[in-house]
Subunit: 354 residues, 4 copies
């Protein structure tokens, strides 16, 4: 396994959904950064299930800071944070011991490790993302001492329904006021209906998270293998259920000509900018000072409240209805995780820029 | 900068387009691997310009193996390979000294390094990808001693024109027989017309490379930050001009429901497989034994034979027609680079699996 | 800070002496390794103070395994282990807030981080080594599934008193039966007297730990920067208070001629061995199958029960007698830490050998 | 193999003694550093054999800078440097094909790689150190833009003969004026006699290199695994033939008491310093602003002009006199290599300090 993210600003995570706790260790955060416990709590509560339109499990997710913070500031030492799992009901999972759930990681974990924790996915569970949010919050505290970078992310597509607003217009406050992390009241209502339909039919839906980073300084990204675009792509595609990543015009750029896709330069107040932002704020893997813009696709959750065929360890195929509460979408809960991974990439590349 | 790719099977590269040479160092290739000089030459010739529909510059690209190979086999020592640049005409580039070419990396390199090599892009030039192809060829030699993995890549979209063939039907021989790396004779003719139109108008076009990896063993990928999907995404988005990555159903999965997107299991000859392959051969970041399938979007080249507005180091905007031969598309030459990066990811994750 | 050790078998540690806990995360331990909780407890108890001739503080050091182990075996997921600090009496340390204790890391931490945890050394405290012992115990569990490597370490010098026994004769059981980790009953009595004298005078003493690794397979070590000798040296010199490292004949080899220092080859039972072992079982940075032999020097603890001159944050020099229990030697408690770091180096290089 | 040194300021090396060239790639050197070609040539000439008291082979060692430097300054891109091997006489080495030379790495390389380059040691040859000197020279150029650190190294012991001068008195100019890199005219004459005796008898001698780093800023070193002492130890023990490392009082500290070994603080001109320097300028793994002082032991070269018993691949033991010119000591040629590795460690930790 590879459970450390980053080169200089590094997050190491551990813990399974049905073990005693999830842990995060941030190493490489400089000393003297004001540690904002309320920001950490707030970020954790944003990803917590038990909110509208996510699963009903109640998790308190109170973080315990074990090290690296003294008298309200980071000390330069590694920051260990633990969040206990309050809701370990292993009995529920006994029927799953011999089952490879369809489109889950059960089969691949067994193929790789020969031994698996069948209680709800172990390390492949979405609960793992909690530690990413811890890391992202600390990255944000660090970045706040260095630059005025702000990350805004929102659910901009849910199934066939897309927002009508541009990524430039997304508003962070509006997003967090929306229980489904939608930016656009017009499409939000239809997204809500779609979610209700999914719940009704026991089905699930995919979606897209769009991200805009404002206040980006130019010069961030380390060619040629740690380009900003490459690091963001790797970070996003490490999140559970992500299936696609595009920056700027993305797949649309593949359909265009150079004369239409190139971003014209303008000079405003002695600053070189571009009129359009098809490059998503990145050229040659380095930020150009324009907003960084990207999108992440998420598949519909594999767990649905319908009987489906699954495989077994005995290599048979069986019909099975998996009990339990199923989230009709992961994309809603992915929003703070996408934000956290963005912060971690930026903090690491910031420290590497030298 | 960050010019080393990989953890155990590592490629370090150096060299600029207008310096004396491009170099690649592969460290972590085990001893005893038969070194296939012809494969290396052949892979390099596949990415070489001077072929139909790519720029007309003639580069010989003869690799010199400097170390790590003895009596036809790798020794376990780092393999250094040098390819001289035969065509360094720096005078052509003097007018570019003060120019930031539109949508090029000129501005971002200057913002980051305060000092740049204006002769054709320096490290941001496509010539850098030559060293990736060297690394990919050696990765392929290594993988051939371990597994029967085969990578097939093709241009499946060029501008608005897409192949009609499925990714499952792509055929490697057909692709390499096509000078535009197209898989499908039907759409190939239209792609060729599109390229001709681009040349005629001095414009350029984007495109998509699709990839299928056959013979994938199950169990490759290192959760949670070096998932196979994450490593592939990071690798592909580090290639010049790439703007998007999707695995399996990709962005289409975001529009679907779980009941339609989940891949039904089947058991054939005691092997667990899936009927469909919407997951692209990966679950939880680990290969499941099905073909790994992904797509990479490339933007249209920024250099076009039309007068465009560019910025200057003096922070003005000027109209300028950049002289020289311009490639109407990078996606054709990207095919062997995408293959090489795929091989490098697989070789590294294979060595990490332990 | 850099709190991760290793490339593939990786230990990440966190926690300060006066914070709530010390933590260790082992990533890269393969799945299926029997997890021996008793071995872990036993190793922790060996390094614990509260034993004869070490400081009298009572620490229970009960490890809590938070992840990565299921039904008695490792799962391949990161193994998080927490040990609570039971004895946080911060009030004792208030007088130290402005003091840079002589030959302690107080000054250098302040110079580096501008902000320090004055309560007993923070991250520079010997309590940090507890996490190394956790990592070493898990490395030992892993190595036991791969090879029959056994590490024996002992205190072979304490101040001017040296063991009369050769390193080849050291016996692990005898060492652990000795409360001062001495191998040789003859010199042990004199070492004990020396410790008593140190306590009496409120002084402290340095010493040497000698190590022998039996059952070493040939071929371990990764030239040229991760040679076995280089990795062992780096590991040992990262332990608190270490001041020297030598392998095989070490500094004595510098005084010799080649004709006397070279190790003659012999062939026994089809195995190539050497008659002498001046090279310490390593040639060219790679193990040769002979026992690996090295020594680590430790300085006398800087904290002594005598009034000494210390510096202050106000840049004055003051006489001060630091209250509290002072360990007359760190070398005794270093023995299990040296063993643990040896195990971690071997586990990592074993996994890297490919 | 592991042929990359460093985390942010990274040296990757390749090349064997009897291949076409030795190469070095420095990645992570910031842009804008004046590139001093004469310093590079001068450093290479200092390590070159063909000088008095080292082997008589003539090597020209002219470096070719392939990338990363433009108009006299570094560009931020990786700096590739190649030095051709002018003297590849492989025929000499045919008798060695089946021989494991005593105390050489022949046996261990074969045990590890199953396949070896018998022509003079391949990657285990001292010629590899040339690439370290290239890296060290570039590290020095970088450090000169950041700090006034100066490294002085000298041969302070050769066999039984030791300098009478203290490490504080070593003078760099005097050392480089001495063809045996000795600091002290008194002992130098005796060292010279000892070398003559070694040549006469076809034997070889070990020795010690002592190092002093002046102008060290406080705060360099990354606890707890990349402490300055740990990084220096790992770097030095990666050099061919090194057998021991000690910092400050080193092994002597193990014999002392705390009351004599502790370094009293003094405050001079508002700067906190220490009266003595038993800690070698490092506390808790971080530099304290005093000179960093350490020593490295080197064994006598294994190749001697005497008939010795060697082993064979057929597992027999044979008497053999190895033809060729043998260096009576490696310690003289090790001086610039020790300096280079010191510079590389400092450049890397300087960049990591953030």
């Amino acid at each position: 396994m590879a459970n450390t993210f980053g080169t200089l600003f590094r997050l190491t995570t551990f813990g399974e959904s049905h073990g005693p706790a999830i842990g995060a260790v941030v190493d490489g955060c400089p000393a003297g950064v004001p540690f904002d416990m309320e920001m950490l709590r707030s970020d954790l509560s944003r990803r917590r299930p038990g909110q509208a339109n996510t699963t009903a499990r109640v998790e308190s997710d109170e973080p315990e800071v074990l090290s690296g913070v003294f008298e309200g500031r980071t000390t330069g030492a590694p920051i260990g944070v633990l969040v206990r799992n309050s809701n370990q009901r292993s009995k529920d999972y006994e029927p799953l011991r011999e089952l490879y759930r369809r489109s889950h990681a059960d089969y691949t974990y067994d193929a790789k490790y020969g031994h698996r924790d069948h209680r709800g996915g172990g390390r492949a569970s979405a609960r793992e993302t909690l530690a990413r949010v811890v890391g992202g919050a600390i990255a944000r505290m660090y970045l706040a001492t260095q630059t005025s970078v702000r990350v805004t992310a929102a659910v901009t597509a849910l199934g066939e329904i897309s927002t009508e607003r541009t990524i430039e217009a997304m508003d962070s406050e509006r997003v967090w006021a929306s229980d489904i992390r939608a930016d656009d009241p017009a499409s939000e209502a239809r997204m809500r209906e779609h979610l209700a339909a999914m719940k009704m039919t026991g089905d699930s839906t995919g979606g897209v998270v769009s991200v805009r980073v404002d206040g980006m300084p130019a010069g961030i990204g380390e060619p040629i293998y740690d380009k900003l675009s490459a690091r963001l792509a790797g970070a996003m595609m490490s999140i559970n259920g992500s299936t696609g990543f595009e920056i700027g015009a993305g797949f649309e750029a593949a359909r265009r000509t150079g004369s239409t896709n190139n971003d014209p330069f303008v000079v405003e107040d002695e600053v070189v900018r571009t009129l359009t932002n098809n490059s998503g704020g990145i050229q040659g893997g380095i930020s150009n000072g324009m907003p960084v813009i990207f999108r992440v696709a998420f598949k519909p959750p594999s767990s649905i409240a319908q009987s489906q065929q699954h495989a077994t360890r005995e290599k048979t195929v069986v019909d099975h209805l998996i009990e339990g509460r199923h989230d009709p979408s992961i994309v809603i809960r992915a929003v703070p995780v996408v934000e956290a991974m963005t912060m971690l990439v930026l903090a690491d590349l910031w420290r590497m820029k030298g």
